[in-house]
């Protein structure tokens, strides 16, 4: 068994070295495609963070002062619920101090200066308002602007439908272009790994011929090649992962160096999302390697 393993690795390593440029090209292409995929996932997550305040159809937020009494809050709620033709009352949601603080953590992740200023004593609480699908924008604007004067403790009413549109469109463009590039490059990576394995098998066709003649099984012949492809995918994924983590760190520190309140605060990705991305990149890299080498090893074994 040990001799078998050492045979497999010895052969694989020799083959990797012999085909150096093709191997390098395959690894580079796999790495770049996975890197772009990783970036895409992070950028989309940034957009989602930025838009998360507005998720679920929320188009209007009424900010209420931190020290509003339950009675004052009820007045606001009543006012909002008095317009069921314009506002979807079932989806009306109130974020109390804790929920608002939790949201701020996400929104100002890249803007610690602003975040520091928000405490349980001063953070505004919010009513998130989903309009009826057929409510006219003008009517909504009119109602919204009247709240600030009419209702107690209301700090401001946010109704940034334009920016939301722009951001969502941008998100769509970025998603489309980057996924397209990723897909094309991943395809190229599969082709290349397929090709390095084909080349590796061709370079060793005399050995393969002899192996078959002395009675080696097909699996015995195939495994080192498949492993070789797997490792190319894996190495590509490892490079990509390093790149993605570095890029994320670089971007986070760039955003933190922006002036406070630049509007990019939510555009950083935190928590263990980057680790998840890396995990999936590595899985995908190995998959790409396995597909490329597996098909090549099956196809060219009977030549």
């Amino acid at each position: 068994m040990f001799s078998r393993l050492s045979y497999t690795f010895r052969e694989m390593w020799a083959s990797l070295r012999r085909n150096f440029t093709l191997t390098a090209a395959a690894i580079i292409t796999a790495a770049v495609s996975l890197f772009i995929l990783g970036l895409t996932l992070l950028v989309l997550r940034g957009f989602d963070n930025q838009l998360s305040q507005w998720s679920g159809g929320v188009e209007l937020i009424v900010y209420v002062e931190n020290d509003a009494t339950p009675e004052q809050l009820q007045v606001v709620r009543d006012a909002l619920e008095s317009n069921p033709a314009v506002i979807d009352v079932d989806k009306l949601e109130y974020l109390d101090v804790d929920a608002s603080l939790a949201e701020a953590q996400r929104l100002f992740a890249g803007d610690p200066e602003t975040l520091q200023l928000l405490t349980a004593e001063n953070i505004p609480t919010q009513f998130k308002v989903v309009p009826q699908p057929d409510a006219s924008a003008e009517l909504l604007t009119e109602i919204a602007s009247s709240y600030k004067e009419r209702l107690p403790k209301v700090i401001s009413v946010a109704f940034p439908s334009k920016q939301i549109d722009v951001l969502s469109t941008l998100r769509g463009v970025v998603q489309f272009v980057l996924y397209l590039i990723t897909l094309i490059l991943l395809f190229s990576a599969v082709l290349l790994i397929w090709n390095t394995i084909r080349t590796a098998m061709f370079a060793r066709r005399r050995e393969i011929e002899v192996m078959k003649l002395v009675g080696a099984t097909n699996w015995f012949i195939r495994v080192p090649f498949m492993l070789e492809g797997l490792i190319q995918g894996l190495v590509g994924a490892v490079f990509a992962s390093g790149g993605v983590l570095t890029a994320n760190w670089y971007w986070t520190s760039t955003v933190q160096s922006f002036p406070p309140d630049s509007g990019f605060g939510a555009f950083v990705v935190t928590g263990n999302y980057p680790q998840w991305v890396v995990f999936w990149l590595i899985v995908l890299g190995m998959l790409v390697g396995a597909i490329g080498s597996g098909t090549a090893a099956s196809k060219f074994l009977d030549v």
Binding site: Y7, R206, K212, V214, G215, T217, F220
Partner: protein, 225 residues
């Protein structure tokens, strides 16, 4: 040991490489296949280790019909058959020892078996002092001895040799023939394709002669003609 029954094989519609060939080879027999270029000698040998499948007829090796043997069993069939070629088919980047050991390694023989059997077979073919040389550091005859050692190290029942003396000068070729004869005397069946007149005439073994895919002569203790 080997039995062909009405075997026909053609590669394309134009060429029939072998037509209705039938014969029997007994255990420990030595058979020459002779005939002009393209008459089907190599094809016959390739049918015997399932490198090719016939269109018609049956091929039996060691008591088994190898036509309807599943592909997965073929490696085990081949472990009973040694192959020798005109161009030796040695691996240039491996030493003599490694070339022979390779044949055992790839069928999963443990290290201690390899360390014991390889020197023994190299001794048999007369190369004990040259274990660490590479093929290009050997004469053609010596290279052919390495390839015989590789074919024989697993003690196969059958040796198939396709013009093993084709690249060798007459003296060296004779040495190879004496070695094959010695191996044959240990009980190994040998089938050898050749067009070396001198050698066939010298050995006086059974001769099967082909002409354009047809067996035209099958003679015990025959000559080249």
């Amino acid at each position: 040991m080997i039995k062909l029954e009405n075997v026909t094989k053609s590669y394309s519609t134009e060429v029939t490489a072998l037509q209705d060939a039938s014969f029997d080879v007994a255990k420990a027999e030595f058979v020459f296949l002779v005939g002009p270029s393209g008459s089907g000698k190599s094809t016959l040998l390739r049918l015997m280790n399932r490198q090719e499948k016939p269109e018609k007829g049956e091929v039996w090796v060691a008591g088994r019909n190898i036509n309807d043997m599943p592909d997965a069993k073929v490696p085990h069939l081949r472990r009973n058959i040694g192959n020798i070629f005109q161009d030796y088919k040695l691996l240039a980047n491996k030493t003599v020892f490694e070339n022979v050991a390779f044949a055992l390694e790839v069928i999963g023989r443990p290290k201690h078996v390899i360390r014991q059997q390889v020197p023994a077979v190299l001794d048999l073919v007369g190369l004990s002092g040259k274990q660490e040389r590479f093929p290009h550091q050997l004469s053609g005859g010596e290279q052919q001895r390495v390839s015989i050692a590789r074919a024989f190290v697993n003690r196969p029942l059958i040796l198939l040799a396709d013009e093993p003396t084709g690249n060798l000068d007459p003296t060296t070729g004779e040495g190879i023939m004496r070695l094959l004869d010695r191996i044959n005397k240990t009980g190994t069946t040998v089938v050898m394709a050749t067009h070396d007149q001198r050698i066939v005439n010298m050995m006086r073994k059974r001769v099967i002669q082909l002409d354009r895919g047809i067996i035209v002569r099958d003679q015990a203790r025959g000559v080249y003609e």
